[in-house]
């Protein structure tokens, strides 16, 4: 069994309106040092396999096909035993 942690974020060159709104709120609260806020998604998947290579290959496909929209989002993941 593996636990996969998948992080999906808006691509750096794509506007993130939610992040911009949160950044503005933080500035209003006095946190002037906040240069940028990017909001993304965090997902946990439990994979029923003992083959790490297979798990990674499958995850890669899952990210490309469904978990992220690669037109506007980037993804990365970590696999834990």
């Amino acid at each position: 069994m593996f636990k996969a942690k998948v992080y999906v974020t808006t691509k750096a060159n794509v506007l993130d309106p939610q992040g911009a709104a949160v950044q503005q709120a933080l500035h209003t609260m006095g946190y002037g040092a906040v240069e940028e806020v990017r909001i993304g998604k965090y997902m946990e998947l439990t994979l029923n396999t003992n083959d790490r290579a297979e798990a990674e290959a499958e995850l890669e496909k899952m990210c490309k096909q469904l978990l992220a929209n690669t037109v506007v989002e980037d993804y990365r993941y970590e696999l834990e035993d």
């Binding site: 794509v14 506007l15 939610q18 998604k41 469904l66 929209n69 037109v71 506007v72």
Partner: protein
């Protein structure tokens, strides 16, 4: 003419589309088709309606795109069947890769729900032949994620192939180049955020959407007549 209006869990403009199609497409048979259907043989026009399919979970359109019916839509699109994606339908078509780009959260974060003036930037399409070139029409919008995005290369392609069909006169959502609707290179798949089905009678405030349906009917008749000969 046989029309399919797709229904996903969370679709909410399907009945409006049925009503508009029945009102505007003379002699057409209009059917609501559940998302589990895997065969769309025999339909001449497939409407992917607006709403919040699968609660917009993950991303709008992301899950609907893998419903069994979408494989049938892809096949029909390849066969030249007319496919019209409205609002969430547009989002689903981009997620499915039937149209390029993606729809992001509105730049102002607000759900925009009001009438909007659109410019018909390409009236040489099966969907817009009833409009004048560059005519400004009044079609309502209702979306929170209609902010169209594509990379520079895709944008150049869209322009080169005249795939940009509608633009906003006053950009409500941050879409690049004010894009409100685009079509595929073959010209049989159109996606748009505004709702033509909500603009089919004076009672609704505008009937500028009628000519879109009439255009599709005309294109279908022309195609049919050609086939007969």
């Amino acid at each position: 003419m046989k029309v399919a209006v797709l229904v996903f869990p969370g679709s909410n403009c399907d009945w409006d589309c049925v009503h508009a199609a029945e009102e505007t497409l003379e002699g057409a048979t209009v059917e609501r088709v559940w998302h589990t259907t895997s065969d769309l043989t025999g339909y001449d026009l497939i409407i992917v309606p607006g709403g919040f399919s699968y609660g917009d979970y993950l991303r709008s359109g992301a899950i609907a795109r893998f419903a069994p019916v979408m494989s049938a839509v892809a096949k029909a699109a390849e066969d030249g069947v007319f496919v019209l994606g409205i609002c969430n339908g547009f989002q689903i078509l981009t997620e499915a890769g039937l149209l390029p780009g993606a729809l992001r959260r509105n730049a102002g974060l607000k759900f925009r729900c009001h009438y909007s003036n659109l410019r018909v930037t390409n009236n040489s399409t099966a969907f817009t032949s009833g409009y004048e070139a560059n005519e400004v029409i009044d079609i309502p919008i209702a979306h929170g994620e209609g902010n169209y995005y594509c990379d520079d290369e895709t944008l150049a392609q869209l322009k080169r192939n005249n795939q940009i069909v509608f633009t906003y006169e006053s950009n409500p959502n941050g879409s690049i180049e004010d894009i409100a609707g685009i079509m595929n290179t073959s010209g049989n798949v159109l996606g748009m955020m505004p709702h033509p089905e909500r603009a089919v009678s004076d009672l609704l405030g505008s009937k500028d959407g009628v000519r879109m349906f009439a255009s599709i009917m005309k294109a279908w008749r022309e195609r049919h007549a050609t086939n007969v000969n």
